[in-house]
Amino acid sequence: MNRQAQAAVLFLVGAAVLHAGLTDLYLRYVKAGLRPLLLAAGVVLIMAAVATVWYERRGRGEAGDGHGHVHREPRVAWLLVLPLLALILVSPPALGSYSAMHAGTALQAPLAYPSLPATDPLPLGVVDYAGRAAYDRGRTLAHRRVEVTGFVALAEDGTPYLVRMALNCCAADAQPVKIGLTGHIPPVLQPDTWLQVTGTYTAKQTKDPVNDGRIPFLDVTAAKPVPTPHDPYDESWNN
């Protein structure tokens, strides 16, 4: 790959990263906090591309220019085209039911159970509900209607789960937190559709076959499809 091609790849990768950082696209892959770093990296890459072209043009006439194709970059540099194409052409979706059912629930005992506001229905995160239901026997959830948003995943035996992937840094470390659905479940459930489920606490629990983690259930009274949220991951863990 010679200098011009390198400059082009640098520029395109930088532009793709900037594009992802300036839209919500980056939230499918990394945590929100990484945005400034992503934007800075994109700017640096574009500057490197511009500098490469500039010094290349300026150096052409002079003997002072460093290097021609004596040192080409190794062929491995071509691989940088792959993430570029993946990001621009395919823009893969955030991790969904496939990954969720391949990993065990990552639910851990919460450190505390802060008291909840009095709103009805009460909006709760999947992680928050699951923690209170599984490790506090629903003490703080008694007689409350809760509203939980997540995507649908179906277990092999057909049990529907409401899942949110919890993310710490990037999608490579995303882990599912699962809530089982029982009660008035919509008759047709398509995996990966986002649902806003209203329901009440139930003592029913099960164990995740993958890692024996606790999966609490939610007694559903109503469920409505909602668009994919801005940030498809639950990032409450890293804040």
Binding site: M1, N2, A5, Q6, L10, V13, R28, Y29, V30, L34, L37, A40, A41, V44, M47, A48, T52, Y55, A63, G64, G66, H67, G68, H69, V70, H71, R72, E73, P74, R75, V76, A77, W78, L79, L80, L82, P83, L87, V90, P92, P93, A94, G96, Y98, S99, G104, A106, Q108, L111, N168, C169, C170, A171, A172, D173, Q175, V210, N211, D212, N238
Partner: protein
Amino acid sequence: MSTTKAVPPGADHRDADAPDGPREQTAAPDGPREQSAAPDGPREQAAAPDGPREQAAASQGWQFNSPLVLVMLLLVLVVAQGPIRRALSAPVMQSWMTVFVAVVCQALPFLVLGVLLSAVIAVFVPPAFFARALPKRPALAVPVAGMAGAVLPGCECASVPVAGALVRRGVTPAAALAFLLSAPAINPIVLTATAVAFPRNPEMVLARFVASLLVACVMGWLWQRLGRADWMRPPARPSHEGLGKGAAFWDSVRHDVMHAGGFLVIGAMAAATLKAVVPATWLHAAAANPVVAILALAVLAVLLSICSEADAFVVSSLTQFSLTARLAFLVVGPMIDLKLFAMQAGTFGRGFALRFAPATFALAILGSVLVGTVLL
């Protein structure tokens, strides 16, 4: 033209290249010439500025107009994007792609940070600085460099280019390697993340710090005693003499991003494959036996290639494993994983990485078992 390759680049490649202006046109007929250059391997290795030499030598015959190839490739892919998307719509492929893009996106800012730092070291910091800053005796320089790792904020992607720049600037390889191993594990960001991830086991932070520093220093001393200079391909690069500081700086940035970036992509592909394909049930079975548990998490750390700023969160949820096994994950991961191996092979040569990586892996497990027994 046909002698360009055989002339030691340090001496006069710049002059030789000067008439190169219309490079694209001359590039195609260059093929045979480049192949004929392959036999002067040893000299190449000493003088040639970049790349895994084996690869570069193999690719020499494959030189045509790379911007044209790039444009054609992009055009073909844009035209064929419908079928490509259909082929990639299977859930396992989507999950693979998401993790792949995620690893690259997450690592890229830190790679760029490391590349910028390495360019600063290469261009603006005089070699005399390191001679003064580090103790003369390598045996002492190793722990000092290991501790210095605490000041590089970021994950392991940043440390590889920086360590490469240190070696080029004349720092004892043993000390640079101690820095390479310790920096991603003991900097404040990573230690804070570890403390947050293990709220009930604050001793985990201390254990991670001690075990990582210990293993880094032992690896440094080991390299100093047993390491041979010819195992490590000197990470040479285009000489910056005759270039202005700005030109040299951006040249270094461009070179490192293209180079380390390519290897990062290989590592990201490997990590995505494992994440998407390997069933998590295997882990569950491994946790039952304490020895197998440690080995399993150590191997998992290598395969998953998670950023050292996030690995504590991942492993803290693997509650079925003992704390020592989880410590092994935290010590091994930042020192050696698939993407690091690819990047080390790119920076220091494949011969180096093939020896260095297994030794690091074994020592990191040993170190974490020792520290785990004492502290956890």
